[in-house]
Each structure stands twice: as C-alpha cells, then as structure tokens.
C-alpha cells in the first residue's frame, strides 16, 4: 500500500462517506420503526378498548333487555354508521372481529359473523381480492373464509388455479370452509399440486364442518393430478371408505412412493386380503421405506400361504431392518415360527394389545365378550414373551392399565385382589347385570363398547359399594339423600349402572336427579360428552345425515324374534318416534319385506305428520325448532327475539336431567314395565307420547357412531 495505482484515495473517502450515510440512515430507521411499531400498537390498543364495549353490546343485545339498554343499543347502531365511512376505523373494526372469531365459539360466534356482514366489512375483504399484491389477496380470502361469508364462494373459487402459490392455497382452504361440498369442487378442478401441508390444513378444515357427510372419494382416484390421487387415498383412509378395493390395489403399482404407501396403508386398514398378490409383485422394485410398510401390511393381512414369500424375503433381503421386518411379519401370521432371539418389544403396541388375553391380567373377559373380539391370533405369541422378559411385561401391564382403564369396568380385578368372596360376588353381579340390563346388552351386540361416565368416575367408594350388603346399600343411599352433595354423583351413577335391585336403582336414580341440576357433570369428560350430545341435538336439521342406527328402535328391531313383534315395534315408533326414527323407517321401507314395508311407510307418514303438527313435545322442541334454517334463527336472534335463545336451547339439550322435565331413562321404562310400577311423572305427561329420555350411555354410542 505504498501507492494507489488504480483507485484514487478520494473515491475511497467517498465510499466511506456513503457507508457512513447509510449507517446513519439505518440508525434513524431502527428508532423510527421501533417507535412506529409501538405507537401503532398503542393506538390499536386504545381503539380496541374503546370499541370493545360497543361490540359486546351488539353481540349480546337482546330485545328483553331493559329500556335503557335498548335505547343505548339503538344509539350505538346509529352512531357507528357515521364512523364506518372512515377506512381506518373499518380496518380496526374488521381486525377486532377477525381476532375475536378465533377466541369465541357457539352462538356468539355466529352472531359475530352476522355482525361482520351487517357492518359491511366484507366489502373491504372483497376489495382486497382485486389487489395486485398477492399477500393482500390472500388476506382477503382468509377473512372471507374465516368470517364465513358464504356468498363469497364464487369470488374465491376462481382463485383455486391462481399461479401465485399462497393465494391458491388460501383459496383452496376457503372453498372447503365456505361450502360443504367445497372439497368436491376443489378435487375436480385443481390443476396444481397439493402440498402435504395443504392436505393437512384441508383435512383440518373438513373436520371443522359439523355433521360432515363426506363424498365417496374413490371418484378422484382416477384423477390425473398425482396429488389429488394421494389426497383422495388419505381421505378414504381417514373417512373409512372401504369400497374402492380394486382402484386402491391398482395404485400400489403407482410410481410415486407416497401414493404407494398411502395405498398400502388403506389395504392394511381395510384388510383387503386380495391385494396380497399385487403387494408381492411390486415388492422387489420398492425403496426400503415402501418395503417396510409392505411387509407390515403383509403381516397384518397375510395367511399361511404367504409365508413362503416372506421367508424368501427374510433370507435374501440385504437390508437388515427390512429382513427383520419380514421375520416380524412371519411371526404375526404364524406365531409358532417365532425365533428365539427376535425382538419382542420394539413395537410397544404389539404387546399392549395382545396382553389382554394374557393370564397375567385378571381379565373380565367373561363379562364383556365383545371387547376381546379385536384380539387377533397374535395373542398366542404372548406366553413366549411373558416367559422371557418378565420385567418388561410388568411395565406394559402398568401402561395398559393406565391407558385402557375406561373401557373396562375395573372393579372385578380389584376385588379379586381383595378377597375370594367378593370375587365370586362380582362375577355374579356382572351376569345379573347383563341379564337385567337390556339396553346395555343390546349395545354390546351392536359392537359398541360403552364408555360411560360412571366407569371413568370410578372412585374407591364404588368398589366398596359392590361389596356391601343389601341393607347397608340402602342405608348408604338414604344417608346420601340426606346430606349428599355433588361429590356423590359418580357413586350414584355407578349404582344406577350396576345395582341389581331395581328399587335401589330407582332410588339412586331419583337421588341423582336431585343433585344433578347443581352438578351437571363434575368431570371434564362428562361435560364434554354432554356438549357433544347437545351438538347432536342441534344439528338435526339435516335428517339425511342420520343413519338408521340412530334410532332407539334399530337395536330392538334387530333382536325382535318374529314378524309380529317387529310390526308391534314399528307401531310403537308411531307413538314415540321423532326424526331419528325417520331414517330408520326409511331404511326399513327400502330393505324389508312387504308387510314390514307397509307398516314402516304408515309409521313414517304418521311421524312426519306429527312432527309438523305437534310442537309441544318437550324433547322434540329443540330439534324441531332447529330444523328451521339456522340462518333464520340467527335472524330472529339479531332482530331481537332474544339472543340467548340458541344458548337456551343448548342448555335444554345439555341437561337431560333438568328438574322441570320428568322424563326417565329408557332402561327404567323397561324395568317399570316388568314390575308394573307406575311412575307419577310418567302418567302426567302420558299424552305427549314421549316419556323416556335416552340414557347418556346411548348418547355416547351415538357420539361414537357419528
């Protein structure tokens, strides 16, 4: 650096000054941005606190409010019109509503959407669709979708083949949000790939649709868009549509690994045994990951005839973990082939499932035969496992107990540990219970495992209870009637469920009804369940979605011994049936012999008539009213027939044990019939035709089906 042959020192100084200038600029910008950000934040904050009460007022306004509140509401409504001309105000307001939408649920959320449109804020979102900046367009689409502006469907749908990725993705999500069959439109029309993330989001959007009746996705398995095929396969698996065996098996030969794997998973889940040959055929050309899922599936669906192939793989496959999987598959099909050193616990589930049959667990198998149905032949592997690694087995049992406790009545095993006498008793109890409890056994025969609150709630008290004598039980019950609180509820429920003496059961039931209003479910699980029930009741506006199984009579009908009793049953449906029975009767009318068909049609007609005439039936009032277009309800609410109506309905549906209604569980009806007891409440309301309520357990089953 003796001298500068080419570059003048001046130039360097100029550069220095330039950089200095830039540094100074950045210095200023740093503080400018910081201040601006915090200023905006503060301004937003103040605007929000200003607007919050106004929005609340709009959302919770009701015509039954006192006069002053009414006046205030009207004034606010007029006042806000003036402000709405201001762009900034509208933007803030839209932001607030958009944020709120994420945090609230139920009727308030619906009212929020209405408010958004009423204030004309959706026009701004529409305007955003016309912007040339993709992020603004995407934002607009998002707003329209999240605020459920359903008439935006067409405007949004045209973006699903937009070349800007983010816009396209938002549009795809939006149309699924906005319309129930949006997914059909998407799968039919999309030309672009659907990324895995997008598939995830789309399923999330589908899940958020209440009472969704998915189309048969096999329609799209022939699509030319690879991602549509892949996504359809996943949807088929997700929605358990097992009617596309041939297409799925053909797709195992697809060149794309993801599609292959998705198809293989479907085959495994739906147990398409005829796919075995196709699986073997493609095996050699597959990548290790596909091979692994192929072998797992072969193990699941294979038979002894396939052992030769698997053994061949196990011998010749160079990749150790694949060969290992082949051995595992062999063991799954034919447990005798187990090799002494093979891994035992690599797959924890494997042992957890099979251990059900292991003698190490004092199982209640005899009480609940259906529960063990799913245990495959793999169960025989267990003795070998148990002998070899004892410590591990203990571990698994512990986990098993923790996880599975609610599907098994726990008391028998606990009692077995306590004393032999109680053990005997408990078995007796179970058998008696099965005999006495018609409803329960019917549910079993439907293949549904009752998961009911009483079992989740199991307290030590309950097990004590099972050991008590008749007298002490009575005494306990009386004591509870005198000084009981909400904490007794689980025990009472347990009694209702398991007590063999009908009188005690009835007492428990009555007692429960008295406590219930104060303790509508002391446990989350129960509360959630109740909500679900309410949801079912709310969503009955679409009868088409109810399957025949939803009817109480379905199970009875399945077990009726002869034609006459079936006819009698159908006649009964006329008396007490509601929309749930319609699907059932339709089913009968289509699938049964002539005489039954005639009866069914008659009944159908009668119920439909009654449904239109008779609006006073207490239990149908919820569903009746909700049958009307949801929109109109929202209309009413906003027009002022009481914003809490939706919630009131919900509340009605919530507590089946509301003190004001004297419905009794269906099981009790049967018991009363048997014993010839007349229940007071029953008589008074006889004319209404509906004198029982569905037990929670039944609702649980409904939930599981739906």
């Amino acid at each position: 650096m003796i001298k500068s042959p080419k570059i003048h020192t001046d130039l360097l100084w100029d550069l220095t000054v330039l950089f200095l200038g830039l540094a100074a600029l950045y210095f200023v910008s740093i503080f400018f941005f910081r201040n601006r950000a915090s200023r905006l934040f503060r301004r937003r904050g103040t605007k929000r606190t200003e607007l919050a009460p106004i929005i609340s007022n709009f959302l919770f306004h009701s015509s039954e409010d006192p006069k002053e509140a009414q006046k205030e509401y009207v004034e606010l409504k007029i006042g806000i019109r003036e402000y709405l001309a201001d762009n900034y105000f509208r933007k803030i307001l839209a932001d607030i509503l958009f944020d709120l939408q994420r945090d609230v649920a139920g009727g308030t959320r619906q009212r929020l959407f209405r408010l958004f449109v009423e204030l004309g804020l959706h026009h701004d979102s529409y305007k955003k669709l016309k912007s040339w900046r993709w992020n603004i367009v995407a934002q607009g689409i998002l707003e329209l979708a999240q605020m459920e502006v359903s008439h935006a469907f067409q405007s949004v749908a045209k973006f699903i083949n937009d070349k800007r990725g983010i816009v396209r993705k938002q549009a795809e999500l939006a149309i699924v949000h906005l319309k129930v069959d949006g997914i059909n439109y998407l799968l039919d029309n999309t030309k672009y790939g659907i990324s895995e993330w997008q598939q995830l989001k789309l399923i999330e959007a589908l899940e958020s649709i209440t009472d969704y009746n998915p189309p048969r996705f096999k329609t799209w398995l022939i699509s030319e868009n690879k991602d549509v095929v892949l996504f359809s396969l996943r949807l088929i698996k997700h929605y358990n549509q097992n009617d596309a065996a041939d297409s799925i098996i053909a797709l195992v030969k697809h060149k794309d690994n993801d599609i292959k794997i998705a198809a293989i998973h479907c085959i495994r889940d739906f147990h398409f045994t005829k796919a075995m040959d196709a699986l073997k055929l493609v095996f050699a050309q597959c990548s290790p990951i596909v091979k692994a899922s192929l072998l797992d599936t072969m193990g699941e669906i294979g038979s002894e005839a396939d052992l030769e192939f698997l053994k061949h793989v196990a011998r010749t496959e160079p990749n150790f973990s694949i060969a290992n999987r082949a051995n595992r598959a062999i063991n799954t099909i034919q447990p005798d082939a187990i090799l002494p050193t093979k891994d035992i616990l690599e797959d924890a589930d494997f042992v957890m499932e099979t251990i059900t049959e292991s003698p190490a667990i004092p199982s209640d198998g005899e009480g609940l035969p259906v529960e063990n149905v799913e245990v495959p032949e793999t169960g025989e592997v267990i003795p070998a496992v148990a002998e070899k690694v004892e410590t591990i087995e203990i571990e698994e049992i512990q986990i098993y107990d923790l996880v599975e406790v609610h599907t098994q009545p726990k008391e028998p095993e606990e009692e077995e540990e306590l004393s032999p006498v109680s053990e005997e008793k408990s078995h007796q109890l179970e058998i008696l219970e099965l005999e006495a409890d018609l409803e329960r056994s019917l549910n079993f025969s439907l293949g549904l495992v009752p998961v009911d609150a009483a079992e989740i709630d199991e307290t030590p008290e309950n097990t004590d209870y099972a050991e008590m004598s008749q007298e002490s039980r009575e005494q306990l019950l009386d004591e509870m009637t005198e000084n009981g609180g909400a904490s007794e509820t689980p025990l009472l429920e347990f009694m209702m469920e398991h007590e063999e003496d009908p009188e005690l059961r009835f007492k428990a039931f009555n007692r429960l009804r008295n406590t219930a209003p104060k303790s509508q479910g002391p446990e989350i699980a129960e509360v959630e369940a109740v909500e679900e029930v309410a949801e079912i009741a709310l969503d009955t506006d679409d009868i088409g979605t109810l399957s025949p199984e939803h009817s109480v009579f379905y199970s009875l009908f399945e077990h009726a011994s002869d034609l006459d009793s079936k006819k009698i049953l159908i006649k009964e449906t006329i008396a007490i049936g509601d929309e749930k029975e319609i699907a059932f009767l339709n089913h009968l009318a289509q699938n049964e012999g002539d005489s039954i068909k005639d009866e069914a049609l008659k009944a159908l007609k009668a119920i439909k008539e009654r449904r239109t005439n008779d609006k006073n039936v207490p239990s149908t009032i919820t569903s009746e009213e909700l049958l009307e277009d949801v929109d109109s309800i929202v209309d009413e609410i906003l027009e002022g027939s009481g914003p809490d109506r939706l919630d009131n309905h919900k509340r009605d549906a919530d507590d089946g044990t509301d003190p004001t209604d004297d419905r009794i569980p269906l099981e009790l009806c049967f018991i009363y019939d048997e014993l010839g007891i007349l229940y007071n409440g029953q008589r008074e309301k006889e004319d209404l035709g509906l004198n029982f309520e569905l037990s929670q357990e039944y609702m649980y089953n409904l939930k599981e089906q739906g």
Partner: protein
C-alpha cells in the same frame, strides 16, 4: 531493479486485496438485498397461516428428536423435560448417552423410571456398540427413548439415533438447547409446504439465551447477554442468520444447517450414511453430501430455513472456549471443502458448484487468512516506511464503515422482524458493539480461524479437545 520488481509485486497485491474487498462489498450488499426480499416474503406468507391446530392432525408426520448427551449429568433431567413438552403429538425424544463418564445415565434412569428393552440391532451397523435401549415405565414419558452406547463423538451418536429411529423426519439438536413449544410445528410446515420439490433438510436460527430468564424449561424473558463476548456473538449471529442464511435460502443454496437445530428427511440422511465421523465440521459436511446425493438422483429438492426464533442456546462466555470453538469451525470448514473439492466451479452441481462453494471457499475460508496476512504486510510496510498512510487510512475507514453499516442493517432487520430486545438501551448497546467489533472481537475470530487452519494444514493433532462439550458446535 529489484526495487522495481518489488513495487510491481506490491501493486499486484494491492489490486488483489482491493478486488477482494470490492467483490466482498458487492456480495454482502446483494445478500442484504436478498435476505430483505426473503424476510418480507416469509412474513407475508405466514401472516395468513395458523399452525397451531395441526399438531394432532392424522396426517402429521412422525419426528424423532435426537439429542446426544455426554457428561450432562447436571442439567440432563431438566433439558429432557423441556424437550418432552413440545406442542406436537407424533414425536419422540431420543437421548443418546454417548458413553458419559459421569452419572448422566443413572440420573436419567431414576428420574424417568427407565427400563431396558430388547431391540434387534444390525450387527453390521458401523457406529460404536450400543449397550442398551431404554424406555420409561411411566406412560407420561412414553415419548422418551434413551440409548446407552459407547463413546464415539457427537456424529457417531446422532448416526445411531438416525438408525434406530422409525420416524419420517429426524431432528438433531444439542440437548442443552431450548426449543420454543411450537418449534416442531414450524419444522413440519417447512418440510411439508412444497409440492414440487422434496425438502430434504430444515434448519433454523440459533438465538442466544445467555442471561435470558429461563424457568421450567421455558424461555420467560428475553434479555441481552451481560457478558461482552456473548454480546458480540449475538451481533455476529444476527448478521449470519438474519442476513446471511436468509439470503442463501432465497437462492436455495444453503450450505450449512447448524448442528444445534437441524432436521433431516430420515430416508435421505440414511441413504447418504449419516454424519461423517471423521470431520469436526460434520453439520456442514452432511449437507454437502445430501445435496450431492440429490443432484446425482436428479430429483428436485430443496433445503428450507426457518427464520423464526425457535432454538435458543448459550454461547461460550469464556475466551478460551470461544477460540477453540472457532478453531474447530475453521478446521471443519477446510476439511469439508477439501473433501468436496470437485464441486469447485463445477456446473454439474448447479448453484452449489457455481455460487455456494466458491463463496464458501473465498469468503469463509480464505478471507480470514487474507486479513491476517494483509495485517502483517501492513506492519512490515509501516516499518520499512513504504506505507502510503493516506491510502491506508482511507481504505481502512471504508472497510470499517462498511462493516458498521452492515451490522446496523442486521440490527435494523432484527428490530423490524422480531424485535426481541425491547429496551432502547439494549439496542444502543448492540450498536456500540457494532462500532467497536472490527477492532476488538473480529481480530479474535480471525486469529482462531488462522490457528485452526494452521493446525489442519500442518497436521497438528487436535480432535474435539476437552473443551468440546461446552462448545459442542453451538452455532453454524
């Protein structure tokens, strides 16, 4: 005559130095521009997506987090607890005890109620022998797997993890890293958002957690480090992650994913044979190899980078540890570049061969050496009285101002995007760091790099050294 020749040589040297600086300025400016574009794009893109609901989706892929642990007895229990509480459903935490000689293993067994399970292991698997696979007896820790193996170094431990995992994606992290609860959601999104390219790896920002308020495995309060070395590193990391990697990611030419927070498609990672156990720059080397593999397969692929602050870690506050760490990075750099020298300006590898590799060669590897020798030349000139002081002053100021400006830009961007440091005092402190960094912190870094290169080139025996575990390839 000889004086004349000497002058010509010096003129050439001058030109080379100047050219080098000018190209560097230009490249850095382009990088600044690209990263700005990319950050704005990223921000706009993520404004419209909500990731929280996806955690329990039926399509959510499985992820295994692999955390090698060596003599971490003091903190291991808390660290694992923090890893187990991430917001995601389909994941497991695999802690690899790399033959610790303290009580790491015993502590884990008792705290998490571990029990040995049998697992079949490929007798030909090339990593150090596995002593046992452990799982917890408690259902609440069902996500935890602990592998006890003989000591083989970090790469060997992670390779074992990749092999034993069953998941679609594997994440390699330092066990003492603090992950934000939604970190895995971001990772899954990055892996899954492409429909045309296969994402083979995902990397992220490393943020500095020194002096931050941490309780119960959660980051409670973000504070500027009190230690000055850590402050300088914070500035350095901001530049490198917010500007540098963001720009490389824009060009789809990311060459490095930090070992402290890197996720891989397990299938590809296995196919390339996992980490190279013979280099100390394994986190860079594996990316080179994965890219090479995909190029040879001719499959469209990419490597994603997440700028959100998801991973927080502590950087060395001790000068010796820092020098050793940078020394190691320099050696790793050299080893990797040497191993893949066929990529140099090789159009067969696309941008990788034409842009990333040469940049890495000239500006990550050669630059510190140039600076070092330039410095000595100047001293020699100054003593021989041949130094043109005016020119020297001018060019020094130019370079100095450029570096200050670039740091300011990084701070600006930090403020504009995530604004983690709320106090005005903190921002001013960072700016002060930027002002004095070229004459304080930077020489240390240059010296460490030169030392590393010297060791490597002159075969001075040096492995990870005893300082290794504290530093453990924190960033980069």
């Amino acid at each position: 005559m000889s004086g004349n020749l000497f002058e010509i040589v010096i003129e050439y040297l001058n030109t080379v130095f100047l050219l080098f600086s000018v190209v560097l300025f230009t490249l850095l400016s382009i990088m600044g521009y690209l990263s700005t574009r990319n950050s704005i794009h990223y921000r706009n893109k993520n404004k419209v997506g909500d990731i929280s609901k996806v955690m329990a989706s039926p399509l959510a892929p499985s992820i295994t987090i692999i955390a090698p642990a060596y003599n971490e007895g003091l903190t291991i229990i808390e660290n694992i607890r923090s890893l187990l509480s991430l917001q995601y459903v389909n994941y497991e935490v695999m802690v690899i005890n790399d033959g610790s000689i303290d009580d790491t293993m015993e502590k884990m067994i008792s705290a998490y109620n571990l029990v040995k399970v049998t697992q079949e292991i490929d007798p030909n698997w090339k990593s150090k022998p596995i002593r046992g696979v452990y799982r917890s007896r408690q259902a609440s820790f069902s996500k935890l797997i602990v592998i006890d193996k003989e000591n083989g170094g970090k790469s060997d431990a992670i390779n074992t993890g990749i092999y034993l995992s069953d998941s679609k994606f594997v994440g390699c992290i330092d066990v003492d890293c603090l992950l934000k609860p939604d970190a895995l959601l971001h990772v899954v999104k990055s892996f899954y958002q492409r429909s045309k390219k296969r994402v083979i790896a995902v990397g992220g920002v490393i943020r500095i957690a020194n002096s931050c308020g941490i309780s119960g495995g959660m980051l409670e309060e973000i504070r500027l480090p009190k230690n000055w070395l850590a402050k300088f590193q914070l500035l350095e990391y901001s530049r490198s992650f917010l500007l540098g990697r963001m720009a490389w990611s824009r060009l789809d030419s990311l060459l490095i994913i930090s070992g402290a927070f890197g996720f891989f498609d397990r299938e590809i990672a296995l196919a390339v044979g996992g980490y190279d156990t013979n280099t100390v720059g394994e986190d860079m080397e594996i990316i080179f190899r994965m890219r090479r593999y995909m190029h040879e397969l001719k499959e469209p692929y990419t490597i994603e980078y997440i700028p959100d602050p998801l991973c927080w870690t502590e950087v060395p506050e001790d000068l010796n540890i820092l020098v050793n760490q940078r020394d190691r990075w320099a050696r790793g750099n050299l080893e990797t570049l040497f191993k893949h020298k066929d990529m140099f300006f090789n159009s067969k590898f696309g941008r990788l061969g034409l842009i990333s590799y040469p940049y890495w060669f000239f500006y990550e590897w050669l630059a510190p050496l140039m600076e070092f020798f330039g410095f000595f030349t100047i001293i020699v000139f100054a003593f021989t009285g041949m130094l043109n002081w005016e020119f020297f002053l001018a060019i020094t100021m130019t370079i100095y101002m450029f570096s200050v400006m670039f740091s300011f830009y990084a701070i600006l961007w930090d403020v504009y995007t995530y604004n983690e440091y709320k106090k005005t005092k903190d921002i001013l402190t960072l700016m002060f760091c930027a002002l004095i960094e070229p004459i304080t912190f930077h020489p240390i870094i240059v010296w460490s790099a030169v030392r590393g290169n010297y060791k490597k080139l002159f075969r001075v025996k040096s492995g990870w050294g005893s300082q290794v575990r504290k530093g453990f390839a924190k960033a980069t």
